[in-house]
């Protein structure tokens, strides 16, 4: 047992003294997580995209055009949008074309009159529509501006329909004479406005599957995604060191010592396993301190890390068993890291992918690990990690068994 522990400890020290490896094991995932934190608005006050520049050209002299301008200038949207009111549509378009605005809202002349005809006049046959010019290089900001305008328009539509229904019903039931419609307009108008601004009678209460409000924190997926991505590098690096020792001749020297080949192999695997666990723990603690990320039940996190590194080690062993040179392990490890990252949800969220993709993704430790970390971030505990833990342990055992079989089929001098 002692030789195994000594070899494992030696390999762990070698790994953490290798500045080139540390760069990849720790610095790269931290920097990428930091970048993703910035993208997801983790460091902004509102936790989202802010101060979207929007140009508004209002050519409508009625109340609806002005109301839309006021809406964009309202203090409730002050954090989200930064409106610039310009005189004409061309100026608004120019701001979008020059990438000075995410979108331009152009309210044409006659917009109000097309919805609320003056003095009971018939509404025009043609619909007068607001034009939204979107900046293709700022799709998110343009999408948010569009959502604001759409919600405003749906409320306007509710008001219009409300007014029409109220009047029609009153007239049809003889409660209002057609000649008195104009006199009743203010009262009816205020009721239509109530209909437009009121909370709908059918309401939706959104909650997370566990409890509490549905709060979307993309970091809970991004940080573990990056940690699991770079875990594959660490296990491949461990395999590379095994073959490098053979290539450099240090392995035969080790074997003349009173240790068996099995002890050397297990010791090297232990070293890689400890390096992987240490890497994951540093990333978990670091991201908790740096980004304030709550990973969940500490015991669950620890056990999940142990299982995820075990499964990743299985892939590292298989790669080492199949490779002939350290270079092959390096290249194969980098490829596996990126493919598993893509497949396992480190770059793209599972939920956006079709069912077959989600099934295939569970060939990777990344997918099982992310499942587990999501359960924990939901408030789950070790007891809720049954499926991910089982998946990871079975994966590690199966890959380990296949790898040992492949190792044993090699000629005795090449077994390690």
């Amino acid at each position: 047992m002692k030789p195994i522990l000594l070899i494992g400890w030696k390999d762990l020290q070698v790994t953490f003294r290798d500045r080139a490896a540390l760069l990849f094991m720790l610095l790269a995932p931290f920097l990428l997580t930091l970048g993703l934190a910035l993208v997801s608005g983790q460091f902004s006050e509102a936790g989202r995209i802010e101060q979207i520049p929007v140009a508004i050209a209002n050519q409508d002299d009625g109340q609806l055009g002005q109301a839309l301008v006021k809406l964009f200038q309202d203090s409730t949207l002050a954090d989200l949008v930064s409106p610039t009111v310009v005189a004409d549509p061309e100026a608004a378009r120019r701001l979008v074309d020059q990438d000075q605005a995410a979108a331009a809202v152009i309210v044409p002349a006659g917009f109000t009159a097309s919805i609320v005809p003056d003095d009971g006049a018939a509404p025009p046959a043609e619909t007068v529509a607001i034009t939204l010019v979107t900046n293709p290089a700022r799709p998110i900001g343009a999408g948010i501006v569009r959502a604001i305008v759409e919600e405003y328009l749906s409320r306007v539509e509710t008001g219009r329909v409300g007014g029409e229904v109220i009047v029609r019903q009153l007239v049809e039931t003889g409660r209002l004479m057609p000649q008195h419609i104009r006199a009743a307009a203010p009262a009816i108008g205020s009721r239509a406005v109530v209909a437009a601004v009121a909370e709908p009678a059918l309401r939706l209460r959104a909650a997370t599957a566990a409890s509490g409000p549905a709060d979307f924190n993309p970091m809970a997926v991004m940080a573990p995604g990056m940690a699991l991505l770079f875990l594959m590098f660490t296990v491949a690096n461990g395999g590379r060191s095994l073959l490098a020792e053979r290539a450099q001749g240090t392995l035969p020297r080790l074997l003349v010592a009173p240790v068996t080949a099995g002890q050397v192999l297990v010791g090297k695997l232990l070293g890689t396993y400890l390096a992987g666990v240490a890497q994951m723990l540093i990333l978990v603690v670091g991201s908790a301190l740096l980004f304030g990320l709550r990973w969940g039940d500490p015991l669950g996190v620890l056990v999940l890390i142990l299982a995820a590194v075990f499964a990743a080690l299985g892939w590292g062993m298989l790669l080492t068993a199949l490779a002939r040179t350290p270079g092959q392990v390096t290249v194969g490890g980098a490829a596996l890291m990126l493919i598993f990252g893509l497949l396992g949800g480190s770059f793209v969220q599972f939920g956006l992918m079709p069912g077959w993709w989600q099934a295939l993704s569970h060939l990777t430790p990344n997918a099982w690990g992310l499942d587990g970390f999501t359960v924990l971030s939901l408030g789950g505990t070790l007891a809720d990690l049954g499926r991910p833990l089982l998946g990871l342990v079975v994966m590690g055992l199966a890959l380990g068994a296949v790898s040992l079989l492949l190792f044993s089929r090699r000629s005795p001098e090449k077994q390690l």
């Binding site: 378009r93 034009t131 490829a335 999501t374």
Partner: protein, 396 residues
């Protein structure tokens, strides 16, 4: 002749392993396709939303029917227990629970609240919530209108019986629903662009971003070539031959730039053929951007090559630096997502300018004149990096 020999030597070294093709073409194409939404089921397939209908009333059935008509979601009727189990096992992103009291009578009297349980950190759950809200708004606002119509009627003349009031409400509701359904679209959306209409295309963003990522990484990896030659002692041997240092440097850079341009050309062809990205609209601008971005990345590789000590250090640094620079340069996600200060700070990265030029071309329809500022900045980066690299190389 010597340049050609060095170029050929580097080419043989690089492509000696078939696995290089994996990084040269296969992975870049795979990442481009996936990140462009090539297998994204949104739009092609509606998101399933579990619905536990505990009311089984005409109103709840109307809600389900409205959800069936939604373009975004597809209701799947389940019992509450089954729905909770499926959600816990992450078999679905959202569960809509319609309470037993969800009927027209309760709605006429006040408010009905439905519950949507969704998986956190799941975009499908967010999308489902948005779609369900839109359906409930449509149905709910008609009810609000009917309430206001009844109130207005009562102000004019009180109803003689509850049945009359109810009939009035029903007529107003039906009228409101009909008018809401027939409402015209009052929003016209058009993409802004300096020249022609180029709608936002995630495939274009992905194609440009991945192209930059996957070409920058191996070009920064030129540093590994220097480190390898230095470590193996072959650099000294090369330099004792009658080969000037400049020739060696130039041969190494030219060879890698050549293969980077070949890789870019293949990825551009892939973008045009598979993703229908409009790379070919402005050929002069395209060539200018590709060449200037390639030179900037290659020069960065030369500069790093003069500082790093081992090939492993260089390899790890090139992948880590390439990925981080790509992310911060807006190659993975639109740069507008960054806070203002970060958007300004990342202008020190060549990837930011490369991506800016590519998106100007692909999304904003700009030609050579439009991308010249970005190309000039990239060539400035190339000159600066190359100068530092050569200076350092001379003093080694």
């Amino acid at each position: 002749m010597k340049l050609l020999a060095i170029f050929w030597k580097d080419t043989l070294l690089r492509f000696s392993s078939r696995s290089e093709l994996l990084f040269f073409l296969v992975l870049p194409m795979l990442f481009t396709l996936i990140l462009a939404g090539g297998t994204n089921n949104q739009g092609m397939e509606r998101l399933p939303v579990l619905v536990a209908d505990q009311a089984q009333s005409p109103l709840s059935q109307q809600i389900v029917a409205e959800l069936e008509r939604s373009e975004a979601v597809r209701p799947v009727l389940v019992s509450l227990e089954q729905g909770e189990k499926d959600l816990k096992e992450r078999q679905a992103a959202a569960l809509l629970i319609i309470p037993p009291a969800c009927d027209w009578e309760t709605l006429q009297a006040g408010v009905v609240e439905l519950e949507l349980r969704q998986l956190p950190n799941d975009l499908n759950g967010q999308a489902a919530a948005q779609a369900v809200r839109a359906v409930l708004w449509r149905l709910g606002s008609a009810v609000t209108i009917a309430h206001q119509a009844v109130a207005a009627a009562e102000e004019a003349r009180r109803f003689e019986a509850a049945a009359e009031r109810e009939a009035y409400f029903d007529a107003a509701l039906s009228s409101a629903q009909r008018l809401m359904a027939a409402a015209p679209s009052r929003l016209q959306v058009e993409p802004g662009a300096a020249a022609g209409s180029v709608p936002y295309d995630p495939a274009a963003n992905s194609s440009a971003g991945q192209l930059i990522t996957w070409v920058f990484i191996p070009l920064i990896g030129i540093s590994a070539l220097f480190a390898q030659e230095r470590q193996a002692g072959t650099l000294r041997r090369l330099l004792v031959t009658p080969t000037p240092r400049g020739t060696f440097l130039l041969g190494t850079v030219v060879g890698n730039v050549f293969w980077a341009l070949v890789q870019m050309a293949l990825l551009v062809l892939f973008g045009v053929a598979v993703l229908k990205v409009r790379w070919a609209d402005h050929p002069a601008a395209l060539v200018t951007m590709l060449v200037s971005a390639t030179l900037a990345a290659a020069a960065l590789g030369v500069m790093l090559g003069a500082f790093v000590k081992t090939p492993a250090q260089a390899n790890n640094l090139s992948i880590a630096l390439g990925m981080v620079m790509a992310l911060l340069g807006g190659c993975w996600y639109p740069i507008e997502l960054f806070p203002e200060a970060v958007r300004t700070a990342v202008k020190v990265l060549p990837t930011t300018w490369a991506m800016q030029g590519m998106t100007d071309m692909l999304l904003r329809g700009q030609g050579l004149a439009g991308v010249l500022p970005e190309a000039v900045v990239l060539l400035g980066f190339a000159s600066a990096f190359f100068a530092v690299g050569v200076w350092r190389f001379r003093h080694q």
